[in-house]
Point group: C2
Chain length 479, copies 2
């Protein structure tokens, strides 16, 4: 047992040093590796398989809501990026520039896309002519680059994988509806698949996307009480349409500009999964997106019939679940630790005594609960247990989020709360950017969002300046 | 009917100007659009859906053969690219260089990956320690960049989508086996899914990949008699392993270098589909990878019950096939032309008379054959017809390939054949690079491959120098 303990002890205690715990988990669960490219990561098979599961579920939701996938160039000529003034101002400081092709210096620099609004806008200006061409509901899966100073795997890297939806609509109302529809899709992805409860709301003017009229967000809370923006959806009005001349002939014969949206989620979601669900034994994956939903571990596998039975179970269970069998010569206890580290939702143990009794042992990753199940009803019991793990993980995360959500009605309490009770803080705001900036400077907390479903005033005055309050805001330190 | 004719006439006759025919099809079938980024293309929804189908089938084959997906950074530091001498020599002239991040000049230039051998090698050097860690069978789906002077959609673009497999093995034999296994997977993809017959063989030293010990290829023949390399698989020996110090402890306790492979196919395969199967009505897609396998066209759709029936059919057939219903107000003849242009394998017409007779009309895209089918046996008949289209397209392509394959045993005949009978030319070769270069210079034909299954000598002497022949080679002008 000492060996197993050593394996577990190799990661830092999350309550002692959360950032180090995070890095330990990411490395030990073999999600990523570093490379000689500063700020970029190698996403290893286990990490990439999580992304593939997120991707296939989300892509299905996109297609069900009428979206089509396309692929745009990864380069954007400098002049194209400059066409929308707010957009270039927001992104210019953080793009990578290609200046040479082979040995030749380019006439015009190309940036590696940080996001593709400009390319989609240029394309729409060519293919949208009539109201019959609308809406255009496009999405793209790709990687983008933002030249960050400090980086951390999944949370902030120079290059990251994402999807970016870009849509063009006949009216402002249609586009606004789309913006919120896709925020809902993201909310469903987080809650139903990733077991991550989110707060939906609108970003302040200060926090909105460069070039957008309005940015909506889903915000979640990590184990350490810091917030993480899990996905955003932007309403552009006709700003890009005017900058890029995207016009169509409407049914009344008049030329009109389209109204646009864009929305994206990234591999950052894997960071959220780690930090919402993980514990001191490592990763904990929700069954719906776990690369392996269960691992079969033979006990006393040298004994006659054990490996045969384990293999038989693997074949049988693989018809319904994503299954791994570990028949290596490591000790069972060591294997238990290893798959706990990797966050496999369910462990199935089978040994000589179990075979005798026609049973297997199921052990949940989340609660460690151990049950003996007849082999005759194994599939049914596993299905039930995986469903229960999925739901319980969401509920546990919701409970933690509620516990870590505070309310402040005066600035001293607010400051004290940010300092001592990490989490969301609900407090009123006057809508003045100066207050938002002061709060950030005083406490390190930023406005996370103005929530949709929680707008009952809890005070009459702004938490900062004490002028009349206009909005309830969720505040918090964030990744 | 004149309108329909006009629609069809809008593309150039393939026998008059094949390159223009190609560009016309690519544009009119809405596969791609140009952008303001030189040499890069926008892959539109219909083109991207073909790629998604190729991707999902191929990815399944990769996983069935034990491969795992990963994601590597898109940037490669100049010093890393330089580690393997042949490799850098081959790629340096055609890479895009990132020199600035934001407003800052980088200490070391980064190239945008033209291929990722160096990154995989660096990663393997860190994660491979023991023979128990082998083999590593990794694959990556991504885009790569090569700074080409002249470009054409799908065939040659600055940026293109591909997959790159990179594997590391315990022995040379294991790696060689893998190289050929993956060539076989590519062959199966082409023949079973894309209905493209291929010649499998080895590349000459001149044509092999930069840094490889041996390159294997699958070559196909286009409508115009030019060859297209559809996919390649490389055996590296331990060249990269030595350059990157990828060593492991073998079971005998000795430190050894791994042996490696890499293999890739690209969106170029879409170009092959267009040029192998297309005709003067446009694209022709094999049912297995067609985004829509059939299109339902209501006839006299203003008449009572027609649209209802068409919608009912759509819902019913969508359970088994990828189906589109076109109930727009365009005339049926116009729609026929449009879906012929888009290469939809099967058209299902339904009008008042058909409803009366409880039948539908099936029209094949490939043979134009028209049959009346009882609605009671529609699914069975469609399945049968789609299978038959898939097979017949492969056979038709095989027949064209055979017809366009010539044999030459003297140089005059060879030169005359290249000039007047575009296609593959089988001819003997002495294995001297000088002859290969002379043939290319004299005729424009390059060595496509030394085929595996066709090595019976057809002459004793080299087609060029008349010294003793060593290999039979397929020659041809190529894309």
């Amino acid at each position: 047992m000492s060996k197993d303990k050593k394996f577990v002890e190799a990661i830092t205690d999350m309550d002692v040093d959360f950032p180090r715990w995070y890095t330990d988990v990411v490395k030990k669960a073999e999600l990523v590796d570093y490379s000689s490219v500063r700020g970029c990561m190698v996403i290893r098979p286990y990490g990439y398989a999580i992304w593939e599961n997120i991707q296939s579920n989300l892509d299905k939701m996109f297609k069900e809501t009428g979206h089509e996938n396309v692929y745009m160039p990864m380069f954007i000529p400098e002049s194209l990026l400059q066409k929308e003034a707010d957009h270039i101002e927001g992104f210019a400081p953080e793009v990578a520039w290609v200046t040479h092709g082979g040995s030749e210096e380019l006439g015009e620099r190309l940036c590696v896309r940080p996001t593709s609004e400009t390319l989609f806008a240029e394309h729409y200006s060519k293919i949208v002519n009539s109201y019959k061409d609308l809406p255009k509901l496009y999405n793209q899966w790709c990687s983008v680059v933002r030249w960050e100073k400090t980086t951390r795997p999944f949370l902030r890297t120079l290059e990251f994988l994402w999807q970016e939806g870009h849509t063009a609509h006949r009216t402002a109302e249609d586009a606004q509806e789309e913006t919120l529809r896709m925020l809902d899709v993201y909310g469903r992805l987080c809650e139903e698949y990733l077991a991550i409860p989110v707060i939906k709301g609108r970003k302040t003017e200060k926090e909105k996307f460069a070039g957008a009229e309005a940015t909506y967000t889903i915000e979640s809370l990590m184990h350490d009480g810091k917030a993480l923006q899990c996905g955003t959806s932007h309403y552009f009005g006709d700003g890009f349409a005017k900058a890029f001349d995207i016009q169509f002939t409407d049914s009344d014969g008049k030329m009109k500009h389209v109204h646009q949206t864009s929305w994206g989620v990234t591999t950052r979601l894997i960071g959220a999964i780690i930090m919402v669900h993980g514990d001191n034994s490592g990763l904990m994956l929700p069954p719906k997106i776990a690369p392996k939903q269960l691992v079969i571990i033979p006990v006393a596998q040298h004994k006659e019939g054990v490996l045969e039975k384990a293999n038989e179970l693997k074949e049988r269970l693989s018809k319904e679940f994503r299954v791994q069998l570990d028949d290596s010569d490591k000790k069972p206890g060591w294997k238990y630790s290893e798959y706990e580290m990797k966050g496999v939702p369910l462990r199935v143990e089978i040994g000589p005594k179990d075979i005798e009794k026609n049973q297997a042992v199921l052990v949940r990753r989340d609660t460690r609960e151990k049950v003996f199940v007849s082999l005759d009803e194994l599939e049914a019991k596993i299905t039930e247990t995986l469903d229960s793990i999925q739901n319980d993980m969401l509920e546990a995360a919701r409970t933690r989020q509620t516990e870590k959500t505070s309310v402040a009605t005066d600035y001293d309490t607010f400051k004290e709360t940010v300092a001592n009770r990490p989490g969301f803080i609900k407090a009123m705001w006057c809508e003045d950017r100066a207050c938002e900036e002061k709060i950030k400077e005083d406490t390190g907390a930023s406005s996370r969002c103005m929530p949709f479903h929680d707008q009952e005033p809890i005070a009459d005055t702004c938490i900062c300046c004490e002028k009349p309050a206009k909005k309830l805001v969720y505040w918090g330190r964030a990744y």
